[in-house]
């Protein structure tokens, strides 16, 4: 139960042991899907070799084809209806795209393992874990050993449980244990000669390659760090190669030997992780790195957003797919598709598909060139207070509590209490911005619902400013929060109607509002499904603004968006603050987003606020060990830096605990923490913290590297 300091890597790196037989060879892979919208080109001419034992991260935004690549290797794409496939994916001599079912399945059984994003849905909910683990024909003892290896305690009893009875982190460990349990070789088994897979696999049944498709995305940040560490350990102990598909450059940096950057189904760049991150050649890689919202990015620091949007996958441009968004694009980029060529020696090893890796104009010019490359610099009060903050509060929560009762106990008696929110006090001044962060189940969403009046607290008081109307909500998934059969214009109309704006003025008002959020007039006639993810979120913000609220409450406003879109939505929210004086309450699990959007940060743990204060001050010197652990668990793009882990998982909110709720996971817990519940107390400088040792936390050694 300690915060482990940064894990040391073994002296020899696995992939650098000279040439090895590749476990998978992908040649000129093209995958397209026929759909009603046309032929969607998911992968275009992708070639890649995966060496034995190497960890290769495939990085890209949604629609880049990264998941399709993973599924092609797993042999899952061949059966998809409407798929048009050419090229080959060879594993042990078997083409996973063209081989007959028996050969493909033999490779899947003996050589491959798969881990998917959401461990709840990717495990069979109606089958016991043990039965799912042994399905590839491995012995129960081995399945249990794999469970233990994947960090599942008391494996034997877990095997008798169903997936829904486990926590999120444990479920993903089960999925990993399942991937580890490939069928051992069956030399005694007579194999028909038409299947060229005789004697596949090895005696222990260790897979040669595990394809992990966003395996940490659905997990809390502390659990994410643990799972990344687990992958790193397993590949060293078992020697299997890992193809790690992720949208998060930070996760890729922490685990990968090599990185592949995909854009619109094409490989932009591939090479050793340190080289790619240290010296990106392709302009897309550069843009991706620059657009990353990281915890390390201070609020005022500029972020270069990528202008435009990815190309339409049904009609990609003839040349480089990134050319329309590239600040360095020339005529040849737009006309012909660049092939992968060795990267400039100054950037390091690897290949990139870019005609003009050298900037044709000095960087300073480009940065200044707002039309080509927008700089997003979040306005911050420290830059001369552009926010019209006044004394009046836009939102005040005074000692708000909410308790739910969950069924439980024998014969339906004795339901248990869930203290979703306990004694929470918060205040946001008019025009101010506060971010509420915490892991799943910490009560942040309940607090949000109380703040906007959707649920009534059991105790305490909620006050909105006197001038304020009801606060408006912006949700994570704008696609499902906008009525699907109404046009955006009609949705805005409805809001204006409520405010009593005359019918003839409403159209102009909606167009003005749409323009304000960065959408053009066409959006008024569109329905939610016709808009892209970023556009939908803008439309949702427009709808929220239509009733001129003084407070906008955002629930994970950008977590469904790609990095380059997310930063622009955050920029929009900031701009709305400075222009309209709207206050923001943002609930997020992402500390990077919190740092970007808020000047005040509140950290929740098990229904209570454990730390609160000015965001930069908290980042610079967290006072609560939980905040410290959260910050440390976030991956950065520093290659090979495995995040120290915050032990344990987010706690169950059921029942009451004595002492400090964080104490079971706390590396500094003392005897006092077991019995004496720390209260939220003032630390000075506008900071509050609920830890007995708040003043000493920074002094504990081995926490920060």
């Amino acid at each position: 139960m300690t915060l482990l300091s940064q894990s040391e890597r073994p002296a020899e790196t696995v992939a650098s042991n000279g040439p090895r037989q590749p476990v998978a060879v992908i040649q000129d892979l093209q995958v397209a899907f026929r759909s009603r919208q046309g032929r969607v080109q998911a992968l275009r001419s992708v070639s890649l070799e995966i060496a034995a034992g190497e960890v290769i991260a495939v990085v890209g935004e949604s629609g880049s084809g990264k998941s399709v690549l993973g599924q092609s290797i797993l042999g899952l794409v061949a059966r998809t209806p409407g798929a048009e496939i050419s090229g080959s994916v060879r594993i042990a001599g078997v083409d996973m795209l063209a081989a007959d079912d028996r050969a493909r399945r033999a490779v899947q059984r003996h050589l491959l393992g798969a881990v998917f994003q959401d461990p709840l849905t990717s495990l069979n909910p109606t089958t016991k874990i043990g039965a799912q683990l042994t399905e590839r024909g491995i012995r129960r003892a081995r399945a249990l050993a794999n469970l233990g290896d994947a960090g599942v305690p008391s494996a034997a009893s877990r095997a008798g449980q169903f997936p829904h009875e486990l926590s999120g982190g444990l479920r993903q460990r089960v999925a990993i244990a399942m991937a580890l349990g490939a069928a051992p070789a069956e030399p005694h088994k007579a194999v028909p000669t038409d299947v060229p897979v005789y004697g596949l696999g090895n005696a222990t049944g260790t897979p040669q390659l595990i394809v992990a498709d966003e395996p940490t995305t659905a997990l809390d940040v502390s659990v994410q760090a643990q799972i990344v560490l687990l992958f790193d350990r397993l590949r060293r102990e078992h020697g299997c190669a890992v193809l790690f598909v992720t949208h998060d450059l930070g996760v890729a940096a922490s685990i990968a030997d090599r990185i592949v950057v995909l854009y619109a189904g094409r490989i932009c760049e591939v090479g050793p992780a340190a080289d790619i991150l240290g010296g990106p050649t392709h302009w897309y890689t550069k843009a991706l790195l620059a657009a990353r919202i990281s915890v390390d990015t201070p609020a005022g620091a500029p972020i270069l957003a990528i202008p435009g949007a990815p190309p339409n996958p049904t009609a990609p441009p003839p040349g480089c797919p990134f050319a329309p968004r590239c600040p360095n694009a020339q005529d040849d980029c737009r006309a012909t598709m660049p092939d992968l060529t060795p990267r400039p020696a100054s950037d390091g090893a690897g290949m990139a598909s870019c005609f003009h890796p050298q900037p044709l104009r000095p960087v300073a010019d480009r940065v200044a060139d707002a039309a080509a490359h927008r700089i997003i610099k979040s306005p911050s009060p420290r830059d001369g207070a552009p926010f019209p903050i006044d004394e009046e509060m836009a939102l005040e929560l005074r000692q708000v509590s909410k308790r739910f009762v969950v069924a439980g106990g024998r014969l339906g008696l004795g339901g248990q209490d869930v203290y979703a929110v306990a004694d929470v006090s918060l205040a946001i001044p008019s025009g101010g911005s506060l971010a509420l962060v915490g892991e799943s189940g910490c009560g942040k969403t309940t607090t949000l619902r109380i703040a906007c009046g959707l649920i009534r607290p059991d105790a305490g008081e909620v006050r909105w400013g006197t001038r304020a109307g009801r606060p408006q909500l912006v949700f994570q998934d704008a696609g499902s929060s906008l009525t699907p059969w109404m046009t955006i214009g009609a949705l805005l109309d409805e809001q204006f109607g409520r405010r009593g704006i005359p019918r003839r003025e409403r159209r102009d008002a909606s167009l003005a509002l749409l323009e304000r959020v960065g959408l053009d007039a066409r959006a008024a006639g569109a329905k939610a499904r016709n808009l892209s993810g970023g556009q939908r979120q803008r439309a949702a913000i427009a709808r929220a603004l239509a009733s001129e609220p003084r407070l906008l409450i955002c629930d994970e406003p950008v977590s469904a968006l790609d990095a380059s879109l997310a930063i622009r939505v955050l920029e929009l929210l900031q701009a709305l603050r400075s222009e309209l004086g709207v206050a923001l309450l943002t609930v997020t699990h992402d500390l990077g987003v919190a740092r970007r959007i808020a000047e005040d940060l509140a950290v929740m743990y098990r229904g209570e606020i454990v730390e609160q204060g000015p965001v930069e001050a908290v980042f610079a010197r967290p006072a609560h060990p939980y905040t410290e652990g959260l910050l440390a668990a976030i991956p950065t793009t520093e290659p090979g830096r495995l995040s120290p882990k915050l032990a344990g998982e987010p706690p169950s909110p059921i029942g009451r605990v004595t002492g400090c709720a964080f104490q079971p996971r706390c590396p500094f817990a003392q005897a006092r923490c077991l019995i004496d519940k720390p209260l939220l107390r003032e630390l000075g400088g506008g900071r509050r913290c609920a830890c007995h040792f708040a003043e000493q936390v920074d002094g504990f050694p081995g926490l920060r590297n």
Binding site: L74, L76, P125, T126, E135, F162
Partner: protein, 329 residues
């Protein structure tokens, strides 16, 4: 699980009590005076009054209801006005024929709906044709379907007998079961040939209804993430369908099956009439025509109890199929 079953049993008793109450109300509000009807037109008022007193009809209603309940609990459902037998004795005589018919129909439903659902969900060739044929069969009313079957398989092709349970004509008890266990092969085959057509007519509608729900639920299940995980393990497509998709598709299918089995019970009455099947259906139609209310009430209670028990069993089976429901309840 024990808690769940206990809960279902408690609910079951409640529903059955409600059923007896409804039946009792119908019984007492029937315009004909059962005592007068029983004694005949020439009975004196004194005799009627004495008999009413002896049978307890002059007691307050709630007392009558508790006596009614008490009698039911002792297995006394009264006497049939038509056959003048105890209704329990009549039921014991006619129920086996109906139970046998319903069981064979249930087997049909199980096989046909599973075949229809699995075949059409697996996307094999011919699935669409089968579906169209079965849907058109199922959309015809039961009596019409019965007549068509009789015309086709009996009148024209002469393949199967059109009426009764056996060629000999007289049959009581469980023909198929007793012949099977006593080794009367000829009698068994004869019984089987007789039961084939009526049971199929009963089964077609529910099979299509359940099969369609199964198809939809299977297609839904096959799109789920865990099916992708199963495929990535290299197990065969049939194993994916049977081991991973089927169990996850069962919840709506079981609900539908519970409802459809109720329809089977009503379908039996029509089909037994068409095929002259000497079961509860035939008994009930005769009772209805002759205003034999005690008999109708007896049958209603029995069928109602069966229906309620089946649906309680469905509730329990759903939780067995999907352990997540255990927490939701």
């Amino acid at each position: 699980m024990i808690r769940l079953i206990a809960g279902r049993l408690a609910a079951l008793i409640g529903i059955l009590l409600a059923l007896t109450l409804v039946v009792f109300i119908i019984d007492t509000t029937v315009p004909t005076d059962p005592v007068a009807a029983n004694l005949g037109a020439g009975a004196s008022q004194t005799l009627i009054k004495a008999t009413r007193h002896a049978l307890g009809y002059d007691q307050p209603v709630y007392v009558q209801y508790f006596r009614f309940l008490e009698r039911i609990l002792h297995g006394d459902l009264g006497t049939s006005l038509r056959t003048h037998n105890a209704i329990t004795a009549d039921l014991a005589q006619f129920a086996p024929a109906t139970i046998e018919l319903s069981l064979v129909a249930a087997i049909w439903i199980f096989v046909l709906s599973l075949a229809l659902g699995l075949w059409s969900a697996s996307g094999r060739r011919g699935a669409e044709t089968i579906r169209v044929v079965m849907v058109s069969f199922a959309s015809a009313p039961t009596f019409f379907l019965g007549i068509v079957f009789v015309l086709a398989l009996y009148s024209w092709l002469g393949l199967l007998p059109a009426s009764g349970r056996t060629t000999a004509g007289v049959a009581t008890g469980f023909v198929l079961i007793s012949d099977f266990f006593t080794g009367k092969f000829g009698g068994y085959m004869d019984g089987l040939r007789h039961v084939l057509m009526p049971s199929l007519v009963i089964a077609l509608g529910p099979s299509v209804a359940i099969g369609r729900v199964l198809r939809g639920a299977l297609l839904d299940a096959m799109r789920q993430d865990h099916v992708r995980t199963a495929r990535s393990k290299g197990i065969s497509e049939w194993a994916v369908l049977l081991r991973h998709a089927l169990r996850n598709a069962l919840t709506p299918v079981l609900s539908m099956a519970g409802l459809q089995l109720g329809l089977v019970l009503t379908g039996v009455i029509v089909v037994e009439t068409v095929f002259a099947w000497p079961g509860l259906g035939l008994y009930t139609s005769a009772a209805l025509v002759n205003s034999d209310f005690p008999a109708v009430i007896g049958v209603t209670l029995v069928l109602g109890a069966i229906y309620v028990i089946i649906n309680a069993a469905v509730d329990v089976l759903q939780v067995v199929a999907d352990p997540r429901l255990k927490q939701a309840r």
